[in-house]
Every structure is written in C-alpha cells, then in structure tokens.
Symmetry: C2
Subunit: 271 residues, 2 copies
C-alpha cells in the first residue's frame, strides 16, 4: 500500500520566495506523515490568475532551478508531482509539472491543452506525458484541462501508467445538488474505463475573485474517489480483466476507428 497525498498549497501571486517556502513545507509535512506520492496543484509555485503575460513570466522558473533541489531534499522516499510555470531554454513559458524524487527532477511535462486565458501567456506542450518508473508504480502526469480529453487518459493507460498524477486549478462551476464536480466525474470515468488511479490536487479558497473547487481526491481504479489522502495499492489496476471474457484495453476495436473521419459508416439521410 502506498500513501498518496494531495497537498493543496495556496501560493500568493508575486511572492516568489514565500511560495517556495509554502511548497517545501507542504512536501515536508506530507513526507513526515509517511506520504510516498505527493501531488501539488497546477502552478503551485506562482499562482494562476495572472493579469498579463508579464506577470505570468515573472513567475517562471527553469526546470534546472535550485528550487527543485529543495523538493528533492524534502522528498525522502516520496515522489513529488507539482505544477510550476516553466521558463524554457527556448525562452517560452509553459504550464508544466515536474516529477521529482530524492535524485532530482525525473521528468517535466508541459500541459498540452491550455484553458482560456492560459493561451495568452503559455505555449502548449508538444509531447504526451512522460511516465516514470517508481517503487510504487508507474506514474504519469496530466494537468487540469488535459484530463477532459479521454484520448489523453487512454494514452497513459496504453503506456501502462498505474497512476495519473494531476495538478489542477479547477474554477468552481455550478452543479446540481448532491453531484460531484463535473471534472471529478470525468476523472472517475477515466479511472474506471482505464483501470488506473488518478490523484487530483486542486486549489482551495479563492484567488483574485476566482473561487476554486477544492476537488482534491485520489480516485481508485474502480473510479471511486477516496479523499485527498489515502492508502492505496497503485498496482491493482494492472489487472484489466473486467469479466472472465472482458479486458478493458484488449476489448477496444481500433479496426472500427481507423482514422476515417466518417468512421466507415455514412450518415443515413432522409427516410
């Protein structure tokens, strides 16, 4: 069993030094409690609701910044997946997630599906997420809106991820009473249809008038949310048999969907 810990830290836009301390404290606290996978929100080190591109850029951090040495020192036996504004060597700004363990930065993923005003200051990533081998299972990141593309969650399952670690910043939207947030429902469906776990770390509270959903939770391989801190065997989803004759991935029918936009079946017109 692995203790998965979603740590919804609250950065303060512009307070770069303070944010570094807040994130380090969140990692340290989780590790002290026995966390083996720690997930932080999207853009955890700099905030989200930027006024303009200049302010976003001021929050930028390079992937080889000493900040991550701090994460690695704090990580202990844990793997940390956290969002940050990445200032690329190419001079561009990305909405990224770093996967860090005691050895340092293992991989960086650049968000490929940008939401709304993010498009004004971030460049979308050009690659599917990396998957890292860890002592607790294979972990791959997705960032916020990425999760709403079933192609992406499927891609991680096809590449044998055990856990999707998802830094998010979900602005709160209306929903009927008694329902989960819609983004949670999408993550639950992704977990169940792919038989893998999804650990979501969302923001809580508000930032510059944007109220966050507070949707942090770990979704198990059956699609049920277990709360933001939970012990779970991430490898249980490797058994993708759903019945004696059904397998979540092998039952796919790529033969039906071979790239033709009409899917091989014309629209039936008139009667």
């Amino acid at each position: 069993m692995t203790l998965v810990w979603c740590a919804p830290v609250t950065p303060v836009i512009g307070d770069h030094e303070g944010n570094r301390h807040r994130v380090l404290a969140a990692i340290s606290d989780a590790v002290t409690e026995g966390a083996r996978v720690v997930v932080l929100p999207e853009l955890a080190t700099g905030g989200y609701v930027f006024t303009d591109a200049g302010e976003a850029r001021a929050a930028g951090v390079a992937a080889d910044d000493p900040m991550f040495t701090g994460w690695a020192r704090a990580a202990g036996a844990a793997v940390v997946v956290g969002g940050f504004a990445e200032l690329g060597r190419d001079g561009l700004l990305y909405n990224s997630a770093a996967l860090v363990d005691s050895g340092g930065v293992r991989a960086v993923y650049r968000k490929t599906h940008l939401w709304d005003r993010e498009k004004l200051w971030f460049t979308p990533g050009a690659s599917v997420p990396p998957i890292i081998e860890t002592a607790y299972g294979r972990i791959g990141p997705l960032i916020c809106y990425d999760l709403e593309f079933p192609e992406m969650t499927r891609n991680l399952a096809e590449r044998r991820a055990d856990l999707i670690a998802a830094p998010v910043n979900w602005p709160r939207v209306d929903r009927p009473g008694g329902e989960h947030p819609p983004e949670t429902i999408i993550a639950m469906a992704a977990a169940r249809t792919n038989r893998l776990c999804v650990a979501i770390c969302d923001r809580a509270g508000t930032e510059r008038g944007v109220r966050w959903t507070g949707g942090s939770t770990v979704v198990d391989e059956h699609g049920w949310p277990r709360g933001p801190v939970t012990e779970i065997d991430l490898r249980r989803g490797r058994d993708k048999w759903l019945s004696p004759r059904n397998h979540a991935l092998d039952d796919r029918r790529p033969d039906l969907l071979s790239g033709k936009e009409d899917g091989g079946m014309p629209l039936v017109r008139g009667s």
Copy 2:
C-alpha cells in the same frame, strides 16, 4: 424541446408473442404521452440471460421482420431506438439496435463490444454506429458495454451526433453510498466531454437471478442526468465552445497521438 422517453420494458424469455405486445404497448404509451424519441432496453424483444446459444437464437428476429412494421405504425411522430437479437441474413446472431420511425427501419446497429457470455452466442458488429437525421436532431445508437469505450462516444461526437440513444442491460454492481451507478458516471463523462446528450434505457427488476441497475436516464449535454423521461433540446450541444478560447473537439491534439504505441514519449527509467 423534444420529449425523450426511456421505456424500460420487461421481456419474458421464450414468450416471443407476449414480448412483441409488451414492446408495442410501451412505444404506444410513450407516443400517446407525446414522446418524440423512445428508447427501449438492449434485447428488449427477447430477454438477456440466455442459458445457451439455442435459446438466444430462438429469440432472433430478422431486421425486415413484420415486428418492425408494428413499431413503425406505433411510432407516430417519434423515433424509436430499441434492442433486439438480430438473426442476420448471414445466419449469424447479433445483439442489435433498430432505429425506426413511421417510415420503417431507418438503420440497424450491431453491438461491437460484447459483454461476457454474450460472446458465446452473438457475433460482434463490424461497423461503427449509423447516425440518422431526424426532425429532433442527429441520433446514433450505442449498446450497453459500447458506452464504456470513450473512443466510441468520441466517434459519434466527431460525426456530429446530437444524441446517443443507448439500449442497455446493466447488471447491478456494488457502489459506494450516494454514488451513481458506475455506468451512469461513464455516460455523464462522455456527455460532458463531447457536449452531446445520452439517453439510456436500462432494465429494472431481475431476470433469472440477475438484478438490473434500473439506470434509465437522459443525460444532458453538460453531463447531468435528468431522469428517464425529460424534455430537452437535443441540439444545444452543437455549440461546443467551452470558454471564449476552448472548443470541446477543436482542442483535441491528434498531433500528439499519431498512432505510435509509445505516444512519442519514451518511458523514463531509473533515476
């Protein structure tokens, strides 16, 4: 607004004549109440829990059977989507859905993802679902387990379906208190990520010891279940803009997922 009506008829295995009457009565009742889209369960005309292939075959009906003339007469201004065991001209048995209006059978879809023992007596379909143009919007079918493949629901959205009409037979599975059935959650996610409606007609009660979920409901284009009988504008999901800068389909990144099994990004090994 279109009155969508899920009619969870209960067939009796072996009572072929009685089943025809039950289905006709369900269609007539719905149409009398003003239904414009009527969805029946999977295998509504013959039952589901067969003992062997012979019993399944005995429930078989050809796609040009006079039974469908009855559906067409009862349909009035409605479109009927219902499941039946289809005895093909090729001599094979399919788990199919007929789309019928007053003009007769508009299209037949053969379930492409068979569940468990269905594989013992049915042949899987070889084509993606048809989509028919109707006065109420574009309607395409999926049958039960098909819904659990996000590739399939996406395919229907890409082909501009407004409504997925889904005959299902969901055996009841355990779920945490307060949660929707897992199959419902998957349909809710499919509706929201694709911005289309999903009308599910499930069985209720039990059949030969199998307890059904009773999950009939119409899911709107935002992913919220509205109950088994509801008035809804099926075309509302044609607006796929999610924000001033985000579109549910145009934001996909097929460039990332171009058929390479590794998705273009190697597994990161060791540290």
